[in-house]
């Protein structure tokens, strides 16, 4: 204690406190810079680790996979029928598939959903299992790009037939044919946990197959793993997917990059994968879903395996089928749910990952930046010794509460009226707020400082709490909102400050990084159909702070005599 005391006295003696207070805006800016740089250091050798299978029971590719030879003929036999499925209705497709599934003993049922499309599912009961757990194979009829998933569906049925002959299963096998990989599959998952009569126990893992086209050969496999709301499948599942795919001699791609552009040894390649991962996760629900996202939230670990290209030398469709086969064998070994490995991680290469302890500080520093900006608004002006109960402070608190209330109404309004025109009108009104200040109303200088203090404090809290559950969204929101801290408060708004204010508006900045004419509809449907919080993070987390900053950016002359006299001195 004596040491701290000494230190504190030295700081006081040297007069460092006011100096630091004066430097607060700079320090806050440096925090944001450190935050971005921190991410950039993650792909440096030594910052990431090589992935490993944490759960010993998994043993990927330890058993020989037999989905080969004459199974290919069977698969082609099914494919010759499925090729024409594009011409018939969903209903007919499902009924035909159900008939085939029943031939080898699967119990089938069709989940009817008029809004999103029907889904067919079949359950192969494990002969020796207890029937309380299941592994799921999902095949959307049409994939994310809207192509008929001919290869995937043929694989789905021929793999199920193949699985039905094996006595090894300890978990039931569920196979789902949904109309598409997003809402239709998601609504089936929801129904499975609420209202379906035919169930096969708790789903441990799900693998979504995407093999569009009728080609026998493919180039490489893409593994998608990111879920909704920052949820990721257990790293062990991603690891076995990567390890099995590579074991079958197939190149792995992540986040839509080609395997050629993925180079484990290159910093830039690793950085690119990292940034692509952050981008995909932060905007999850806004991009077309691959299928694995549909299982987010029910403690189901899931990945999507997608075949790319048409002429890979040795990679034939049964090679692709052996990936889910070996994964099923591997998951089948599990006695407990996936819990051994990481749930929070970022991949920098298929075999390299960054653990949460390495990347979390990036956002921690960012929230510290907001906290310092808040401190700056509190201390770096002559109103720092205003009491908490001063009317400026209380008024600022009231403003903050009202802004949250208004933002809530705003968010609810668009749930009912998702109209882009209305949104643009609202944004224009919002952007005119600072210009109207001084003309329609006046915000006194002490009040504007207090408003900014609460705005940044709230932002810091929002980003901190979001960071725990959805790191990527927290980071992106934090970085995009950071220009707010440089707006400050002044008599008349300069163009630079106004520009900062515009680009830090939640909706404007989201549109800048994710330009899409239907962005609003996507945000709303992501919440309504998929349960993605992004819209509410923007409206309830970011917008209130921005509103306070916009109101306080332009303050009128000070009316407080005490403060004025101080200033004159």
């Amino acid at each position: 204690m004596a040491l701290i005391e000494q230190l504190q006295r030295r700081v006081v003696e040297m007069g460092l406190v006011p100096k630091i207070i004066a430097l607060l805006p700079l320090v806050s800016m440096i925090c944001a810079m450190i935050s971005s740089l921190w991410l950039a250091t993650l792909p440096i050798e030594g910052q990431f680790r090589r992935t490993y299978i944490s759960e010993n029971a998994l043993m990927p590719s330890q058993a020989y996979s037999y989905f080969r030879e004459s199974e290919w003929n069977i698969l082609r036999g099914y494919r010759s029928q499925i090729e024409h499925f594009g011409e018939i209705s969903n209903n007919e497709r499902n009924e035909q598939m159900a008939e085939w599934l029943q031939e080898f003993g699967a119990k089938t049922s069709i989940y009817n959903n008029e809004e999103y499309g029907d889904s067919l599912y079949g359950i192969l009961h494990a002969e020796r299992g207890d029937g309380t757990e299941a592994i799921l194979l999902a095949v959307p009829w049409y994939n994310a790009e809207g192509d008929l998933n001919v290869g995937g569906a043929s694989l789905g049925i021929s793999l199920s037939r193949f699985f039905s002959r094996w006595p090894v299963w300890s978990k039931n096998i569920i196979i789902v044919f949904s109309e598409n990989p997003n809402v239709a599959l998601r609504s089936w998952v929801q129904a499975y946990h609420t209202s379906l009569d035919l169930t096969g126990g708790s789903i441990e893992a799900a693998i979504v197959l995407d093999y569009p086209g009728t080609n026998d050969y493919f180039d490489y496999a893409e593994i998608s793993y990111g879920g909704l709301n920052g949820e990721l499948p257990n790293l062990d599942l991603v690891n076995i997917a990567v390890s099995i795919t590579e074991h079958e001699g197939v190149h792995v791609s992540l986040h839509g990059m080609t395997p050629e552009s993925i180079n484990d040894e290159s910093y830039w390649s690793r950085l690119k994968i990292l940034l692509c991962g952050i981008y995909r996760d932060a905007f999850a629900g806004l991009e077309p879903l691959q299928g694995n996202e549909a299982f987010s939230g029910w403690r189901i670990q899931s990945v999507t395996i997608k075949a790319h290209g048409k002429e890979g030398g040795n990679n034939d469709i049964t090679t692709f089928g052996r990936i889910p086969e070996a994964m099923f064998r591997s998951i089948n070994n599990l006695l407990e749910k996936f819990h051994q490995s990481y749930f929070f991680y970022m991949l920098v290469a298929p075999r390299y990952f960054v653990s949460i302890s390495s990347y979390l500080p990036a956002t921690v520093v960012l929230t510290a930046g907001f906290a310092l900006a808040s401190l700056n608004s509190l201390l770096a002006n002559q109103y720092s010794n205003l009491s908490f109960y001063s009317h400026y402070n209380l008024k600022a608190l009231l403003f903050w509460l009202v802004s949250i209330l208004v933002s809530f109404v705003f968010s609810q309004l668009f749930l009912y009226v998702p109209s882009t025109i209305l949104l643009v009108a609202f944004i224009v009104v919002m952007l005119l707020l600072p210009l109207a200040a001084g003309r329609l109303w006046t915000i006194t200088e002490p009040l504007s400082h207090r408003l900014q203090m609460y705005a940044f404090l709230y932002m810091s809290l929002v980003v901190t709490s979001l960071m725990m559950v959805n790191f990527t969204l927290a980071f992106v929101v934090g970085i995009l909102a950071f220009p707010m801290t440089a707006v400050g408060t002044q008599r008349s708004l300069t163009f630079k400050k106004y520009a900062l204010l515009i680009i830090s508006n939640p909706l404007v900045s989201f549109f800048i990084v994710k330009p899409h004419p239907q962005l609003l509809q996507k945000l709303i449907s992501a919440w309504q159909d998929l349960g993605c919080w992004t819209w509410f993070v923007l409206c309830l987390g970011w917008l209130p702070s921005w509103t306070l900053i916009a109101l306080s950016a332009c303050s009128s002359t000070n009316l407080d005599p005490v403060a004025t006299s101080k200033k004159e001195q």
């Binding site: 010759s80 309380t132 609420t194």
Partner: protein, 683 residues
């Protein structure tokens, strides 16, 4: 030196082992008759001798696909025509060396019934019945003078039954998925199979519920050792006293030895307790044939537990004669199993279901098919196989000690033929029941040109399925779907015992809206009586029983919500992340027929702590405690001073000051000494 000593030791030990085994064998069989030992030896010889035949039969008989088999089949058919009635001469002793003076029969009978099911499945039901000698009720068995002879009744049971005053005992070991939609009713109308795992219920005579529970504990612990199952884990938190379910059909036959006491029905289940060879072996050992002859020879753990569904059950009851005032126990043990025939046959050829060679694929010729394409046809409908192929063993002889020889009955449709194979020839009977011959190696053989045509499966009165619903780890829901496919309403009793950490809210129990169900139906209309015993934490489970009527051709879903409680750290099992098994619900149909079925078990996921957490907590707490203690201690012990004064004191306490002080002290000493010297000099 040492090595030689070791070898000698091993030699001696193995001799002792062999000797004791011989003695044990003699002792074990000695209780019955001498010829048993002979028979045993004889059988062994028979076995070895016939091994050649066995192979020969397999090759030339019906089993091979080669051309030669056809002629063989023809031969058998002529045999059938020649001998329309079973020509098997009962009780013929082929070996004259066995001297049996009197026909000594024991109350033991065994029966195997086989029934093909749709889609190439086969149901095999083994039935073993024994009866104990008569005894006088109420006489304690611990009496030294008491002479008890058990004959064929398993010796292990009687003392347990006596000690715990058990009048009825029912044990079920079941595993697998019974496909009621295609297989129809469960064997014995479901009254002889349990839920997945182990299930046990008993009727005990006791003076109070507490003493009944104490007896029950003794009973399950004894049985736990007897059947190598974890029944010793049954405690109060798993035990229920059923109110309407599980009651014997007529209570009047149950004897009460002491009129001051009462009968208590106690039940418990261990969901998903693995059922395996170690449960089957003790069961087979209960029978006098002990897996050595008769139909028990087929009961091999490898095959029984390879089946799609299997159930082992033991039922013991006490029957008394009012006139003679004597009682006896009767024991019925059943082994039921469903075999997937094509898979089992394929597995005996090649244990790994490898891809078929291209020429063995059965392609649909109406669809594109060539060297690359093959649209597979559904399963094969022609088949011929023998029991020995399914069980990997032949039936060795019959049961010598029962009055009736062991019997095998086959329940087949017209498109099927079945034969018994004895000594390489096949015989058929009109009723498809075969009596097994003593000392002969036998096999039952089936053939059909349409395996799909089976004896009509009896429709199930009601389908019931149950599932967990919900999202998250603090609450959930339980949803039970009743499907009545019949044209008449079905009344049933629903029994459910849930662990205490599932806190159900009965108030949330409701009928789910179903577009297919009649609109104006409410739960009150169909629910007739409810018995609900709420759970007590760590003491007793939730016990729910209700009687409900499902209207004709209706699907109903009853659901209710529950909270998941947190367990104490030490209460989590070693595989906490597996989840907690919830035992199946038991549905007893009482109208229009009697039938019992069970839902599948469930896996409940509770929030599971990270088990390294306590150490983190300890470390954090200790740090905080340390900080608080340090501050408090400082406040209590140290003096409060203004800063200036403290600075002054600190100046005096600085290192430089201390050196100065030390220096001055030394100097002072020296000075003092000098002064002293000086003073001395002065003096």
């Amino acid at each position: 030196m040492r090595l030689i000593g070791m070898v000698q030791l091993i030699g001696i030990a193995s001799w002792i082992g062999l000797f004791s085994r011989v003695i044990r064998a003699v002792e074990a069989e000695g209780t019955s008759l001498g010829f048993e030992i002979d028979q045993d030896i004889d059988l062994q010889g028979d076995c070895n001798e016939s091994l050649g035949n066995y192979k020969h039969n397999c090759k030339s008989g019906f089993l091979s696909n080669e051309g030669g088999s056809e002629t063989e089949i023809e031969v058998t058919e002529t045999v059938i025509e020649d001998a329309p009635q079973p020509t098997i001469n009962l009780r013929t002793r082929e070996d004259d060396s066995i001297a049996v003076k009197d026909q000594i029969w024991y109350p033991y009978s065994e029966h195997l019934s086989i029934k093909p099911l749709p889609k190439n499945y086969l149901l095999a039901s083994f039935d073993f019945d024994t009866q104990s000698n008569e005894f006088v009720p109420g006489k304690p068995s611990t009496d030294f003078d008491d002479y008890s002879h058990y004959t064929v009744f398993p010796k292990a049971f009687k003392p347990i039954l006596d000690q715990t005053s058990t009048r009825q005992l029912h044990l079920r070991f079941t595993r697998g998925f019974w496909d009621a939609e295609s297989w129809g009713r469960l064997p014995h109308d479901g009254f002889k199979s349990g839920g997945s795992g182990v299930e046990i219920w008993a009727i005990l005579e006791a003076d109070s519920k507490d003493s009944a529970f104490r007896q029950w504990k003794t009973l399950v612990n004894s049985l736990s050792g007897l059947f190598c199952a974890s029944m010793n884990f049954i405690d109060g938190s798993k035990t229920t006293f059923p109110v309407e379910s599980f009651h014997p059909v007529d209570d009047t036959t149950l004897p009460l030895f002491d009129q001051n006491k009462q009968l208590y029905l106690v039940r418990a289940a261990l969901a998903n307790e693995p059922i395996c060879t170690e449960n089957l072996t003790p069961l087979v050992k209960l029978f006098p044939t002990k897996g050595k002859s008769g139909i028990t020879t087929l009961l091999d753990g490898h095959k029984v537990f390879d089946s799609s569904w299997h159930s082992l059950s033991v039922d013991i009851s006490t029957d008394c004669d009012d006139q003679t005032e004597r009682c006896s126990h009767s024991l019925q043990a059943l082994v039921d199993m469903v075999i997937n025939v094509p898979n089992t046959l394929a597995r005996s050829e090649n244990p790994i279901p490898k891809p078929l060679p291209g020429d063995k694929l059965r392609c649909d010729l109406d669809k594109p098919h060539d060297a690359f394409h093959c649209f597979q046809l559904p399963y094969e409908t022609e088949g011929s196989y023998g029991l020995s192929q399914l069980f990997g063993k032949y039936i060795q002889g019959s049961s010598l000690m029962s009055q009736e020889p062991s019997q095998v009955c086959v329940d087949i449709a017209d498109s099927w033929n079945t034969f018994i194979q004895v000594n390489g020839s096949l015989f058929a009977t009109t009723d498809n029941c075969f009596e097994l011959k003593d000392f002969q190696q036998q096999d039952i053989y089936f053939e059909s040109n349409n395996t799909n045509e089976v004896v009509d499966v009896e429709p199930v009165p009601v389908y019931v399925s149950r599932s967990l619903t919900g999202y998250g780890q603090d609450r959930g829901g339980l949803r039970t779907v009743f499907v009545n496919p019949q044209d008449e309403p079905v009344t049933l009793i629903y029994f459910e015992s849930l662990p205490w950490f599932m806190r159900i809210y009965l108030s949330t129990m409701h009928l789910e809206d179903n577009p297919q169900s009649p609109v104006n139906i409410s739960l009150d209309d169909i629910l007739q009586s409810t018995y609900y015993m709420p759970a007590a934490d760590r003491v007793r489970p939730t016990h729910l029983e209700y009687k409900i009527t499902i209207p004709a051709n209706t699907t109903l879903a009853v659901s209710y919500q529950f909270d998941k409680s947190l367990l104490q750290y030490a209460e989590y099992p070693p595989d906490a992340n597996h989840g907690f098994e919830i035992e199946s619900a038991v549905i007893t149909v009482i109208e229009p027929t009697t039938y019992q079925l069970r839902t599948a078990t469930l896996l409940l996921l509770l929030s599971t702590p990270d088990f390294s957490m306590p150490y983190n907590v300890i470390i954090l707490t200790s740090t905080v405690m340390g900080l608080i203690f340090g501050t408090l201690f400082n406040l209590l012990v140290k003096k409060m001073l203004p800063v200036e004064e403290a600075d002054k004191i600190q100046e005096g306490n600085g290192l430089r000051n201390k050196i100065q002080l030390f220096k001055s002290r030394i100097m002072a000493k020296f000075n003092l000494k000098r002064r002293e010297v000086k003073t001395d000099l002065k003096e």
